[in-house]
């Protein structure tokens, strides 16, 4: 994929001409590629494309200085043109974005979207708030998918063995295939499709099967989520999809289930779960839900858990049987079931008190408790889970079941058919089996058995390279289609733009194969829609404008299975628990937070987004537990953990988990062997892992992903077989003496007993409601408000009381002194303080999903810097997610095995007394009248003093021209290639300046959104004083995307806004408040809700215990 000649837009005629930068419009318009693109994108005429130009950070000052001596009037007054429409398109107002609904297709859960477009360029993806379960949230993958559309490595042309082919040739080929197989009823045809929820696709596929009944149509997703559905399908012959209702659940047990972060439906689950965690006042503390998590890997769900039990994934069947037995025993309802479950002999030993306390807790909240199991677990776990849910009254109250289609043939069937040698045509639609097929299928050899292979794919990836034909596929933002959310609600896939390149929609390809007369994807989608509804235009328009079809969710049943059916299924199930040791490990294949299953490997935003638990960017590693690390160390003599430094010896620092040398992690490489296959990969210690479970994140080590994703990390797919898709036992790990540097974005893992993330237990919170403000330095040195200490938030943010200052300090209630009209006698009384923006982040709701990080990157034109620069510590994220582990202080392990995890999103805190502002010598960062800490890039000279003086370290400096230079050639300066793909530029938000090198940048509270809302309000206000923006009109990008609504933004000067109400919460505190910087972003302390009856429960959260342990002992007077 390094063949850049394929992407004409990458090759502007004058790409090495520096002057192009500030005269870009003409030069850009000159390039044939651009003109061609223009013709295609705006058939009715060119737009007023000043938006494109605006995105440049204009360096006209610098440029004209350089040319001052030449006396060219063209430099002094560079001539630019404005290209207005020839014929104005309807609804398109130059400069105003247009929003369209759509959805991001995925295998089981289309995420409903609203896409912001500027002059028909999609620039930002947001969730569709009309779909209430997800309430407008998206995950990080959906946020980042807009970048894929403008990926210069995307496939722009179809090609066959002889080279590029045009669209007509592809269509001819499709017709040829169809004609050929019409005669043999499809016997020689195999279709391998990726997972999809599209009703249109399944309609076309049904037609295709009807036409070619002997064709094999199989579906393959490397990370399918069919665990529960197939388990129940074996009983009832229809697949049942469990739909848990977390908002109704007060007690939740998650059996190796990461329902908050991985798997379909997570957005709705996270939102519902967070509702049970949002208690703002101590008197409501008991309303909080409690989450037990039993897991091997340390997932985000486990991080949110109040009780977390570490257990191997292969032991989950045993655990489920023990829990089922205990629940049934205590409930005493169904002796038959109890006997059947107890008959399942298990050798797993779990503290019986733990089990009984947990079971009792569930039963005490009968009807409001819930057990969920991970989709990757075997069928018996799901059956046992159903049994428990039945016993605790969950079925019908906190969980429902929807009937869904059964999974079709699998990739194994395809390989069998291929090996039989009868396959003339193998047509792969999407997916990348050459990279991610199970290793035991030997896909690469099997493919060779086919007569002809075709691959419809967005990228020319590993599979494309194996196939005779590669058919370029359109991005979903260029495509018509439809889909369903996890609960079955039908949502549209609507194009924002005509396909930029000569690419195909999957629906068209399938329709041509099926011999449909209608091959236009729009018409296909419409026909499918019409079949589901009354088929009126009005209904379809409503569908598109709402972005969903109301009441189209799957019908649900409360208890579709009987206990008897389950017991039959369970009888004889194997629930034995394997014995693990350092010589016999359990290997878990996990979805990557960066690339999912590898499909997002070429997405720079995702690659650079630090994985929430390990904080790796651009890398993956085998994750091992601290105990395993110590055992491997002593067995092999290779050092994994670093030497104890003097500070550690002195008890001033916690022992590091990883060997950092000069700020870079040097990880040892190990040989991982399982199922007779071996790979080499770096190892990394994660506290909190089950002792002998090791985790291999999938989706790395791509060879044909593109320039971003090639060769990043190691590929774990070669270890993965059809029989061990998620959990493989008997793995061994052998350390080598080699080491490799990993790009870890967070060196230190411990909070060091500092009162940063403040946490309390429900019980102590009830006793000390304002504990969050009685921690840290603030407990004895609070911010200096003087006599105004007890005034309201509104008073403090507008009047800026300064304690005992001898000087007159500016107040937001006063007009600026140089505006005479407002300083006249009597005028000040009429003056109204501008709205004062502030933000509250609820750490009880934040799951650490990273969506805010990518949303911010997308909204604010934040560049990526590449692996090397991340290792140097120069990542540019405006919001970062700090992750702290805290071990039990009584645990004398160097690296704790059992940890509690705390996440804290830190962006610019917009301090009222901002320390960054006072040190800027050029007034480049000052406060505005709305309390924002603003950063004028065009005034910044780049002293970086502000970044030094920021106690939160949230300022980011443009050390190089990230937006201009190829990230691999930044050190070459002007000699390096100018890497500014025209495609990538189209993603940029025209309302945010693209920063050049040498300037500082940071979170602005999405000032472009604030200003847009204010301007709109001014337009509405006209000749009136109604200039206040109503609460909720402005959503910052991070707030908008947050699945759990953990981020709330609004006007603090109005006591009735949501954010002001949250500021009243008992849990509200300022990070490093003692500095008297008075941040406008405050945090709601985290509350944990442990069960007092659980053995070795914790009296206070580990963070708090370690804070107390590190507090200086008071002197006895």
């Amino acid at each position: 994929m390094n063949d850049t000649t394929e992407t004409p837009l990458l090759q502007p005629a004058s790409s090495r001409d520096g002057s192009r930068y500030w005269k870009s419009l003409e030069d850009l318009a000159e390039t044939p590629a651009f003109q061609e693109w223009m013709q295609r994108e705006f058939p009715a005429g060119a737009s007023e494309i000043e938006g494109v130009n605006r995105r440049h950070f204009l360096k006209i000052m610098a440029a004209s200085f350089g040319l001052a001596g030449l006396g060219l009037s063209g430099c002094r007054r560079p001539e630019k043109t404005i290209l207005a429409f020839g014929n104005q398109a309807e609804m398109m107002i130059p400069g105003n974005p247009v929003f369209y609904t759509s959805s991001q297709p995925s295998a089981k859960d289309n995420i409903p979207l609203v896409v912001e477009t500027h002059q028909a360029r999609p620039t930002k993806i947001e969730g569709n708030p009309s779909y209430t379960p997800y309430r407008g949230a998206t995950d990080l993958f959906a946020q980042a998918s807009v970048l894929d559309m403008y990926d210069p490595d995307r496939s722009t042309h179809s090609r066959n063995r002889s080279g590029r082919v045009d669209m007509a040739a592809v269509r001819d080929q499709l017709n040829t295939i169809r004609r050929k197989h019409r005669d043999d009823r499809g016997r020689g045809l195999v279709l391998l499709v990726e997972g999809s929820t599209s009703p249109s696709r399944s309609r076309i596929l049904r037609k295709l099967k009807a036409q070619l009944p002997e064709a094999l149509c199989a579906e393959y997703e490397p990370l399918s989520h069919y665990g529960a559905e197939t388990a129940f399908a074996a009983i009832t012959d229809t697949a049942l999809r469990p739909l848990p209702q977390f908002d109704a659940a007060k007690r939740i047990v998650a059996i190796d289930s990461d329902f908050l972060q991985t798997g379909p439906g997570k957005l709705g689950f996270a939102n519902a779960f967070a509702k049970g965690r949002k208690v703002y006042h101590a008197e409501d503390a008991d309303r909080m839900s409690r989450l037990y998590s039993v897991e091997s890997n340390l997932t985000l769900t486990g991080s949110m858990a109040d009780h977390r039990l570490r257990l191997g994934s292969a032991q989950m069947s045993a655990f489920a049987s023990l829990l089922a037995a205990e629940v049934l025993r205590q409930s005493g309802l169904n002796a038959e079931a109890l006997a059947a479950v107890q008959a399942l002999q298990t050798n797993l030993e779990i503290d019986p008190d733990w089990l009984s306390a947990c079971a009792a807790d569930l039963l005490e909240h009968r009807g409001a408790s819930l057990v969920v199991a991970g989709d990757h677990l075997p069928a018996e776990v799901h059956c046992l889970c159903y049994l428990i849910n039945a016993a605790i009254g969950a079925n019908g109250s906190t969980i429902r079941y929807a009937q869904v289609e059964k999974p079709s043939a699998s990739i194994r069937d395809v390989v069998t058919r291929l090996q039989s040698g009868r396959v003339e045509t193998l047509f792969i639609l999407g997916g990348n089996p050459a990279y991610d097929a199970p290793a035991d299928l030997d896909w690469s050899n099997a493919v060779k058995q086919a007569g002809q292979t075709l691959h419809l794919s967005y990228y020319r990836n590993e599979t494309s390279l194996q196939c005779d034909w590669h058919i370029a596929r359109s991005h979903y933002l260029e495509s018509w289609g439809d889909g369903r959310t996890y609960d079955g609600t039908v949502v549209p896939v609507q194009p924002m733009i005509d396909p930029i390149f000569r690419t195909f929609n999957e629906l068209e390809v399938l329709a041509r194969l099926a011999g449909e007369s209608e091959t236009d994807p729009y018409a296909i989608t419409r026909a499918t829609f019409d079949a589901m509804t009354d088929g009126t235009d009005a209904a379809f328009h409503r569908f598109l404008s709402n972005g969903l079809l109301a009441d189209s969710a799957f019908a649900t049943e409360n208890a579709p299975l009987t206990i008897a059916e389950l017991l039959i299924q369970l009888s004889g199930a194997n629930v034995s628990s394997p014995e693990f040791s350092a010589d016999s490990l359990e290997l878990i294949f996990a979805a990557s937070q960066n690339t999912y299953d590898g499909r997002y490997a070429n997405n720079g935003w995702l690659q650079e987004c630090p994985e929430p638990i390990t904080k790796f960017t651009w890398d993956n590693a085998i994750l091992i537990s601290p105990r395993l690390a110590r055992e491997l160390e002593s067995a092999s003599g290779v050092q994994i953990t670093p030497d104890r430094s003097m500070m550690v010896e002195a008890g001033r620092l916690t022992q590091q988990t990883a060997t950092f040398q000069r700020g870079r992690q040097h990880a040892p490489i190990a040989e991982l062997t399982v199922n007779g296959r071996t790979i080499k990969a770096p190892v990394h210690i994660v506290p909190g892992l089950a002792n002998y479970s090791i985790v291999a994140p999938l989706g790395f080590g791509r060879k044909a992903a593109g320039r971003v994703g090639n060769g990043v990390g190691f590929d774990a797919y070669p270890l993965r077989t059809t029989s061990t898709p998620y959990i493989a036992t008997g793995a061994t790990l052998k350390l080598t003496s080699e080491r490799v540097q990993l790009a870890n974005a967070q060196e230190h893992w411990s909070m060091e007993g500092r009162a940063i993330v403040r946490e309390g237990n429900v019980e102590e919170w009830k006793q000390e409601p304002d504990f969050a403000n009685n921690m840290g330095m603030e407990s004895h040195s609070p911010p200096v408000y003087g006599k105004a200490q007890n005034e309201s938030v509104q008073y403090k943010v507008t009047n800026q009381p300064r304690g005992g200052s001898a000087h007159e300090h500016p107040r937001f209630t006063d007009p600026l002194p140089n505006v005479p009209i407002w300083n006249r006698p009597g005028a000040k009384e009429q003056f109204r303080a501008p709205q004062q923006w502030g933000m509250v982040i609820d750490m009880n709701a934040c799951t650490g999903c990273n969506a805010c990080v990518v949303a911010c990157q997308s909204e604010n034109n934040i560049p990526i810097v590449g692996r090397d620069q991340v290792m140097r510590g120069r990542e540019m994220h405006w919001i970062r997610l700090d992750r702290y582990f805290t071990g039990d202080v009584n645990d004398d392990n160097d690296i704790p095995e059992d940890v509690q995890v705390s996440f804290m999103g830190v962006a610019c805190q917009h301090c009222e007394n901002a320390p960054c502002e006072t040190v800027c010598p050029v007034n480049a960062t000052v406060h505005d009248e709305q309390g924002l800490n603003v950063m004028a890039y065009n005034r910044c000279v780049g002293t970086r003093y502000c970044a030094n003086n920021c106690p939160y370290k949230v300022r980011r400096f443009n050390f190089f021209d990230w937006n201009k230079r190829n990230i691999n050639e930044v050190y070459k300066g002007p000699l390096g290639r100018v890497d500014e793909p025209e495609l990538g530029k189209m993603q940029k938000n025209p309302n945010v300046t693209v920063r050049m090198r040498g300037v500082m940048e940071k979170c602005t509270y999405c000032v472009q959104r604030i200003e847009t809302a204010k301007h709109d309000q001014k337009r509405i206000a006209g000749a009136s004083g109604n200039v206040g923006v109503p609460d909720g009109r402005i959503l910052t990008a991070c707030q908008q995307v947050c699945p759990t609504e953990a981020i709330v933004f609004g006007d603090l000067s109005d006591a009735n806004t949501k954010v002001s109400k949250l500021r009243e919460s008992d849990r509200d505190y300022s990070l490093l408040g003692y500095l008297n910087v008075r941040p406008r972003t405050t945090y709601l302390a985290r509350i944990r809700n442990p069960n007092k009856r659980i053995p070795r429960t914790y009296k206070m959260p580990f963070t708090r215990a370690s804070y107390k342990a590190r507090q200086p002992k008071p002197l006895n007077r």
């Binding site: 120069r874 702290y884 000279v941 003093y945 106690p951 370290k953 930044v970």
Partner: protein, 512 residues
């Protein structure tokens, strides 16, 4: 030996008594050794400028120029490519550049101190070293100024730091210590240059007059015509070059009167200036809120450190110079002793500050502060801390011993160690405080790149280039002031030795 010229009426008995009094021998070591006379001083100093350039000078100059080119290359790369070519990153956004800036500014301080404060304190021994020390100040400020100027991300906009009216109608922000720095450092550079220049005016007059005399007398007859032409051209150049800058100085009594007053005033102005400059430099750190920076002890601590490092540098430069040019009679052991003692004293102040910081960190009961200091001494940069501590606190203790002070080689080595230690002091303050501050998630490690190292290395070359040019082109000692502290300068004949008088008359005879 007459003791008084006053005609106070005294009774005979008293006079008799007075006659019997034999004042004790004047024990103070003379500031100019070997009872030299005025012409010797003039010759000694002017000959350096007027004679042929020695080979070692050319060698040294070539080496210095080569070294200085490292800075040039480093800066070109920096400006063309971005600040990223340095090792800076979050959280350490200031690295070697600022360390070097403070280091060089500190070096400069000894020069002003010698010329100004010692002048005010009427320390006669300063005269022979003050010109070179002032030159050192100016060149150090030049080297220092490079760093804050070029460390900014967009150096072509650095003029925004100056209050220049512009069509954006925006001004600098005067609450920023960096803005104070702009004023302090530019004032410091300017005033030092003025002071230096003014002190040089009489000496430039001397060089001018000597050149004029040589030209009037004609070139040596033994030379070939071509050589004579070349010689004439050189001397003419000197005559006009020095003549223009001498501004018509005539050594008149009235000139000397105003000059002395102006000199005293400039010394008086330079003294608070030099104290304020390092105070303001220390504000760059002290005004911030970063633990380890946010310290009220910084101003005196920085000033003491600056004097300490400055005298270290004076010794490093002067000792080889003394050997090369044979200045043993001008830079005497007494000078070296005094400078060693100043180093000892300021070294102790600095050491006290180091210890006091720890005490305050503990006593202040702020865990962030406490950690910052413990981390300095035992954390990831402990090596730098202990280099600093040994060089700055332990090494100068050797100056208690006279034997050490009298061993020039030893003093020279120690002076270099002091410079190393003081560079590390700035490194420790700047880097360790930033690398581990409030939030452990934002901790990091800073290491310089090759560009950092070469750019700094090159400034020594730049300094040497400037200093060598100074040695060659300008009078390296203020002749008037040296003469002023010689016994012959006394208008009442005190301290006239026979030799001095004799030499003086010899000179008279020889001159004509």
């Amino acid at each position: 030996m007459a003791t008084t010229t006053s005609n106070l009426p005294t009774c005979p008995a008293q006079a008799e008594l007075l006659d019997q009094i034999r004042p004790a021998e004047h024990k103070e070591t003379p500031l100019v050794g070997n009872k030299r006379d005025f012409p010797w001083v003039t010759e000694k100093i002017c000959t350096i400028v007027e004679s042929r350039v020695p080979t070692w000078w050319w060698v040294a100059f070539a080496m210095a120029l080569f070294t200085a080119s490292f800075t040039g290359v480093g800066l070109v790369w920096l400006v063309s490519t971005g600040v990223g070519v340095w090792g800076l990153a979050n959280p350490v956004n200031w690295g070697w550049a600022i360390v070097n800036f403070v280091f060089w500014i500190g070096i400069g301080h000894a020069g002003t101190l010698i010329s100004a404060i010692l002048c005010l304190l009427k320390q006669g021994w300063r005269t022979s070293i003050n010109r070179a020390a002032e030159a050192m100040t100016i060149f150090a400020v030049v080297c220092a100024g490079i760093f804050p100027l070029f460390h900014v991300g967009r150096v072509w906009f650095a003029w925004w730091l100056f209050p220049i009216p512009n069509s954006n109608a925006i001004w600098p922000q005067f609450r920023s210590p960096l803005e104070w720095d702009v004023f302090a450092v530019s004032t410091y550079g300017t005033v030092s240059a003025l002071f230096w220049y003014m002190g040089m005016i009489p000496d430039l007059g001397t060089l001018r007059d000597r050149a004029t005399l040589v030209l009037r007398r004609g070139m040596d007859e033994t030379l070939t015509p071509l050589q004579r032409k070349v010689q004439t051209a050189i001397w003419t150049l000197r005559k006009y070059g020095y003549g223009i800058f001498a501004m018509g100085w005539r050594n008149a009594g009235n000139h000397w009167r105003n000059y002395e007053m102006a000199y005293l005033l400039l010394a008086g102005l330079s003294t608070p200036l030099v104290l304020s400059v390092h105070t303001i430099v220390s504000f760059d750190f002290a005004v911030s809120i970063i633990p380890g920076w946010h310290t009220t002890i910084f101003p005196p601590y920085f000033v003491a450190g600056a004097i300490f490092s400055g005298f270290g540098m004076v010794l490093t430069l002067m000792l080889p110079l003394r050997a090369l040019y044979g200045f043993h009679d001008l830079i005497t052991q007494r000078h070296i002793d005094n400078m060693c003692k100043i180093c000892l004293g300021t070294g102790c102040i600095v050491g006290y500050a180091y210890i006091m910081e720890f005490f305050i960190a503990w006593y202040g009961a702020n865990p962030f502060e406490e950690f910052a200091f413990i981390n300095r001494a035992f954390g990831q940069y402990a090596w730098a801390y202990w280099i600093m501590f040994s060089c700055n606190v332990f090494v100068p203790q050797l100056f208690w011993f006279k034997a050490v002070r009298r061993n020039a080689a030893m003093v020279w080595i120690m002076s270099i160690l002091i410079n190393v230690g003081m560079w590390f002091e700035r490194f420790v303050i700047t880097v360790t405080s930033l690398a581990n501050d409030f939030l452990p998630t934002s901790w990091g490690y800073y290491s310089p790149t090759i560009v950092d190292i070469f750019t700094f290395f090159g400034t020594f070359g730049l300094f040497s280039v400037l200093f060598l040019l100074f040695l060659k082109v300008l009078p390296i000692m203020p002749m008037g002031e040296v003469k002023f502290v010689m016994p012959q300068a006394d208008p009442h004949g005190h301290g006239f030795g026979d030799t001095a008088q004799g030499a003086n008359s010899e000179m008279k005879g020889g001159a004509h």
